[in-house]
Symmetry: D2
Subunit: 511 residues, 4 copies
């Protein structure tokens, strides 16, 4: 398992990173990036903490102790263990303020490793090279090196009104095939945080119009020649008072674009090449595992939201007012409903053909949909409960002023709570939801998985939810005047006999 | 186990029932009530069906086979078995069109039987009689007789603006205590369906202002002298075409008020007497079990709603339109989220001190809250997907008309579906949501458990959700700058070390 | 002006009406229809009431006094006068319980009469007949006869997934053209209430796929040979106690389908024929005027909803509870916002080329959209405020029972209100929103104008709301760094100089 | 009329201002404040622009030309002129990015000046001094000096759970009364932007528990000895690229607290003193006029939101997708409904006893309520339409880079739009809604007028909306079986005969 120091060293590899218009030489010392580099170094170090051994590590099939971010779950207990691992990190990161440590991203290869053969079989133009074996070897290597993998799949927003605009866009595409590998050129437009990762896992999300040349999946080091990372400006407030900037003072996890300037991807780093039909189906499953942790993180976000609302209304003395109590109940219910969807996904999970145990993606998706549908209103509610307290507050410097300080302390204290403690609540809420640091986090949760509308559209493509599928069976029986309680009702009429919706069988069939 | 014939016979016991302004002599033959009497008779008979033995019956601790409505769950498997039992009935009843068969009501005594001692110990004015033993004997008797128990707890709506109005109201109260028992007089204002039950389980929901004399709990036969049932008018359409009236043609489960005209409740039928403080705490738990089945029924309701929406949009050819698909996804998600909350309640259930296994009432309540919050909008959505099809449709008579029939069949057929089959979908939706029969059902679901607002208020009284409770621990740590992932964070500071929210421990402590 | 007696006589004209599977011989005496016939007779008679002369009648350009339903508005004052006329009727009809008296339907010809020439000019296959002059003559005649016009435009729901299904449907279409007129055959699928009208104004709503033969507009008597009216079953409760059935006891305005069995439409009754392009644009304007009164009626509906909520919470003593007060405020605001949109439509109205003054259709549409978006939630809120009071209540017969009556009166009285008066509130709410009579009314409001989704789609086709239109001008200036307050900002750059959104100019341009 | 230069000079008056922990010597040059000082200087200068004379100035009753921010409206035309004046400024300020120029704040004295007598008559402890005449003289003076008045009324958030906590709080209160005036001491906790104003108009919002000593209203110069302004940290980005920071580059309107350290308020600057009952009623009306402009500004905000949504979806090519079109329609409708409520307030305005013409405060309030209820969801919708474009974008520096620039321009161009122009849209949206500068603006709109919940509570205290008031008359008639269309219906029964809701009469009576 990598140490923090090794991780920091790995960042000094000559990678090309632009941030806020400036080229960054050393990520570990530049104020825009040093904070987050420290955060990930601490992440690696905590895996070595003997007190946390059971929580953060496991022993793999070869008897090697590894960080849990490498454990492929084989049963419900494994999935629950992964959940506790993720909960550990999202709590450690103050309710999920950072979203993409290795615990979140390394699983991007789980689906590929579980079933690599189709990635080879469906490839076009790979000259019969054994891509499936390459995938297995690659997995062994990144696991052995305890790499930080970072996915980049999203293409540029160009003109959504024309499918043929996809082909015209400057998206990453194959420009040459050689004996050494594939040469790719063009943009991938969003990733978090390839700037801080060890290897970029790139690929394409199929859209109508995606070409064969745009269809390429691979894994390359972050410092590959020709690879240029262009990050958004950093909102890190390196060196700031943690009273005034409770989160930005810690760091900023950078989102970035990447330009691939005639980048060579060696054949043993190619996962798949050349088949849009493959791109249409298989890679979706790559993200199922990221969605699982996303849904858990969102639940922890929801827990923080609800908790802050409890604290702030206690501090203001408003918690018992009926309208406020009703709003608090909505915030609590938000967290609990998200959590229930996690539990339901675990409870109705299933084994893949190759023995992975997967939480039911339907409930994972509905969990994310529930969060996305309500998060913005819940944040709004929390801010409403704060009143002006999140707009107008003094800084640490003013509290330290001999004239102003004592007067402000008197003005800003609350019910059974001192001014500084109360200000701390407001400042956490302000930083988290009202600064550029905070809104970036909110926007990340809004867009990173899948937008709500897309989740809904994908839902209605599931076999489970077709008019002749299991969910509508009750309605079909009622309309037809059959007794839907009797298992034979529809079967007797020879139409359908599938399990109830939400049952493992139903899911596996649809996946 | 009772048979249907025995049940029907038990209704001919001289009980006093008014319905729609008329005194009903024989419930089993009067058109206002005959349908529902048949429905419950069939309910009893199905328990004798050998094919359904495992699904509907169990063998009790004395080796006696009984209907599952008598099984007190001892572990998670029992709870899941009960869930399947309830799902059976709500499907059998066409998605829960009837809400109060014995499967729903008999569990009103589970909480009392599990822990009868406080009911005796807290009583005032019972002359030291062994009420706890009476409770155990009563339970043995009603179980042996396979009785249909029906609860009546709700008091008259009088003047909610004054707590002292509670004492002034004509609610049921003790007017005399004798050697034989307690004489009670006054109204209980809602029950479903005591008219069709064998025994009335009455009691009081504590409100500020509830008096000692109003605090009385007991179980009496439906035909007790002095007990007058006043039902709302029946919406049953006895003898109607099931094409034209798919549900009202089956029957109507009557809600009713009851006037207790100096009714004697013998001491061995008294559960508790005289202590408003007892009324404040213990009887709440009586309804926890009813809430469990209610939440399951609402989930089955939601499944019917979603299924009907799938069928109707298929029949109209609108299902693939993006806005419609998005609406369908909301309906599907409604069902699945309700179901996830059932699963979460089971998964995080706990044992009571006396060994019952209870689904986590928090998730049961949030499940009901989710349903209540959205059901009306979901029904509205379904109706919107129907368009005029649920307003304007011909009757069976017109379809049979030699001139009109063929022309209507041509006008009303749809995509891959004949006119009659399509009309059947519309008629089911119409009857279920747009007739007096149907809106009564909707209103029952809206009010029977607890209104949404009350669920919210009760939520915020849970210890789990206090500012110093487990849910806010993450927020407390984040505000204080502690690492919330480390179990020692708060504990080290000596404040709190409870389990995560949603964990069994948290629940038991709070209950 | 017609009298009530004359109106009743006009219904006895041999028209062919089916209702609930039965052929109705005399609408004025059959229990399914007699009530509503009386309602419309009273409507006509009230125009003769000298006390209401100024409110209900006007003197036309020929010095003739006529019912206001014939007044084509020429300025804002006329429009306000029409609003008061409509408000009179919707109040008279207990908050709009009937929706389609002549005040609502006769204006279907306003747009045609204001500008008849395009209806002729765009026609195809009319053999050069002077359709525009026919339209003027027709208008003179129906006005002189004080006819009750009833529109029928909607076609059968067949298969919305295929545009070519429109041509295959059994919708009304031309099957022959003769010297006398056009022979049409097929279905029109919804109208309210042609069964009770004097003349049917039929036409087609263009959809992609509408054929030339389906494109025909005309006006024919309700008893035209070959015309068959098929109404839904009546919900009228002729002869019922108005205590028990406050609305259904009055009557039921029937919706109906119509089969045209080789019906001859004489040329002087043809408005337009043969041009789907005409159908695409002009007839939309026919409904602008109906939408105006619909929006006013919906506002009166909203006023009734809010008023009932005030009464019921007063009667229960709950009005001052903060959560209830907040819900009441939402109901009040619902009414006031609907009303504000009426006022805005009048204030920003405009003159057509031919001198009619039209309320701004944008605000009329947004008024309807606001109502449609919220009506269902508002009704749900009202029902929530009622609690069980709308589910369980005794009938007049029980109140008259010597034993039950006094006991029920004691049980059901409220804060400063007797039991009967309180029951009356509940019964009005029950009948209006929870019976088949009431839900039909709700569904009518939901679908009759245009569903919300369609209003939204039509909104985005307005020139006012294009990215280069007036509403986005502020955004364009801000993005470009120009001062949007200066009128010359965009003009100086030669792009656009249109009026502010909501100004008459903007509207006329877009219409 | 003041010039910009005179305004800037007036800020150099020795006032005590803290901002971000630093004492600011010269507001006109310090980077935290220089930008906004320039903004207000330009505001004054524009009033001298001859092209804008009619739009921005008027001639008062003495023949003096003055800025329109001093015009007290006497009829509907005046109110409409004021609306256009406000629209001018909110457009000039890029859709209302600054909220408190003199056009917004000076009207805080309108209500006092219209009717000063009660302010004197209700005073306690003013020694019979002629406060009403002082008010008139004060008005004449501030108008002659073209002062920038800034209100400060809000008190510290202390402990809302105990009314007696109000008296214990360190809020501003009278500590001495002398011949020269009143000595006050303590905090006022929010104002925008007293730091930049000429005179502070202070007072108290009555709450249960407000004491006599806390009840004091006055007007003092911003540099009064003892007055200490404590502003929040500035978010101004003085000197930043307007491409990268389109709004923060212009300036930041500071919110501030104020500590009154034994401040002497001369008697001729006291508006009222000592009577909590006066504080309960009269000062509410002071804010009616600010609410009018607030509601107009919110409508312009809504227009910007809708316009930006049109531009961004055009640029992405998503505008025509049905789900997106439906969302755009919601944004358009949001603006139009806000605007309709402005028009309705003007249309149903009324004259005060002293001849001011006031827009109907009910509709003004409902306009604000509509905005507050939906603004957050509408912003969320806009952000959803943007996708990642508002999270990840390059800076001006990167676009200027010779290697990155051309490649980024290719990657970020859109449908018919270049990369820079498209980025500008995203940057405007980002700065406005996702930076600390932008969220402060959103929070200002959320809290400055009155929170939604308070507006709702105040609504239900209006006589118009009582169960026996005009809005419920229709419901009363319907329930009683009277014809509500006949004016005599209720009057005949001697209960009530008030005008319809929304009529001027109804409003005046209730005010």
């Amino acid at each position: 398992m990598k140490t923090g120091a090794e991780y920091l060293e790995s960042l000094r590899d000559g990678r090309v990173v632009y941030c806020g218009g400036e080229r960054i030489d050393d990520l570990t010392t530049h104020p825009a990036t040093a904070g987050y580099a420290r955060v990930i170094a601490e992440y690696y170090d905590l895996h070595h903490d003997p007190r946390l051994r059971d929580e953060l590590t496991f022993v793999d099939e070869d008897g090697e102790r590894r960080a849990l971010h490498w454990m492929i779950p084989r049963d419900k207990q494994d999935v629950q263990r992964r959940r506790r691992y993720h909960e550990f990190w999202w709590r450690h990161f103050a309710g999920g303020m950072f979203c993409r440590p290795p615990a979140s991203t390394n699983c991007v290869l789980f689906g590929v490793v579980d079933d690599p053969q189709p990635w080879e079989d469906n490839s076009v133009g790979h000259g019969g090279r054994p891509l499936a074996q390459h995938i297995r070897d690659l997995w062994a290597r990144v696991r052995a090196e305890d790499s930080f993998l970072t996915p980049m799949f999203v293409d540029v927003q160009y003109d959504r009104s024309r499918p043929d605009s996809v082909a015209e866009s400057p998206a990453l595409e194959i420009v040459d095939r050689t004996e050494e590998g594939i040469v790719v050129h063009g943009w991938k437009s969003v990733g978090t945080p390839p700037v801080f990762g060890n290897e970029v896992v790139f690929g394409v999300f199929w859209r109508p119009g995606t070409t064969e040349e745009q269809t390429v999946y691979g894994v390359i080091p972050a410092n590959t020649p020709g690879l240029v990372h262009v990050a958004r400006p950093s909102t890190a407030a390196e060196g700031a008072s943690t009273f005034d900037r409770p989160f930005a003072g810690i760091g900023d996890e950078l989102d970035s674009m990447a330009f691939f300037d005639h980048v060579l991807v060696p054949w043993d780093r190619v996962l798949h090449v050349g088949n849009p039909d493959h791109a249409k189906h298989f890679p979706q499953r790559q993200f199922d595992w990221i969605h699982v942790e996303t849904q858990i993180r969102q639940t922890v976000n929801a827990e923080l939201l609800a908790g802050l609302a409890l604290l702030v209304t206690e501090a203001l003395g408003t918690a018992a007012a009926p309208v406020v109590a009703s709003q608090l109940a909505d915030l609590v219910r938000f967290r609990e409903t998200c959590h229930a969807l996690t539990l339901a996904a675990e409870e109705t999970g299933f084994h893949t053909e190759h023995g992975m145990y997967k939480p039911n993606p339907l409930y994972v998706n509905f969990g994310r949909a529930h969060y996305l549908e309500k998060a913005s209103a819940m944040i709004d509610l929390l801010l409403e409960l704060c009143g002006r307290g999140v707009v107008l507050f003094p800084t640490e410097a003013e509290l330290a002023d001999p004239y102003l300080g004592p007067r402000l302390e008197e003005a800003l204290r609350g019910r059974d709570i001192g001014a500084r403690e109360r200000l701390r609540i407001f400042k956490v809420i302000h930083e988290r939801f009202l600064t550029e640091w905070g809104t970036r986090h909110t926007m990340f949760e809004k867009f990173n998985g899948t937008p709500l509308h897309v989740i809904k559209m994908l839902t209605m493509q599931r076999a489970d939810y077709r008019p002749d599928g299991p969910l509508a069976r009750l309605a079909r029986d009622v309309v037809a005047g059959r007794d839907p309680a009797l298992p034979t009702a529809e079967a007797a009429e020879g139409t359908e006999a599938a399990g109830a919706p939400g049952a493992p069988g139903a899911v596996e069939r649809a996946a």
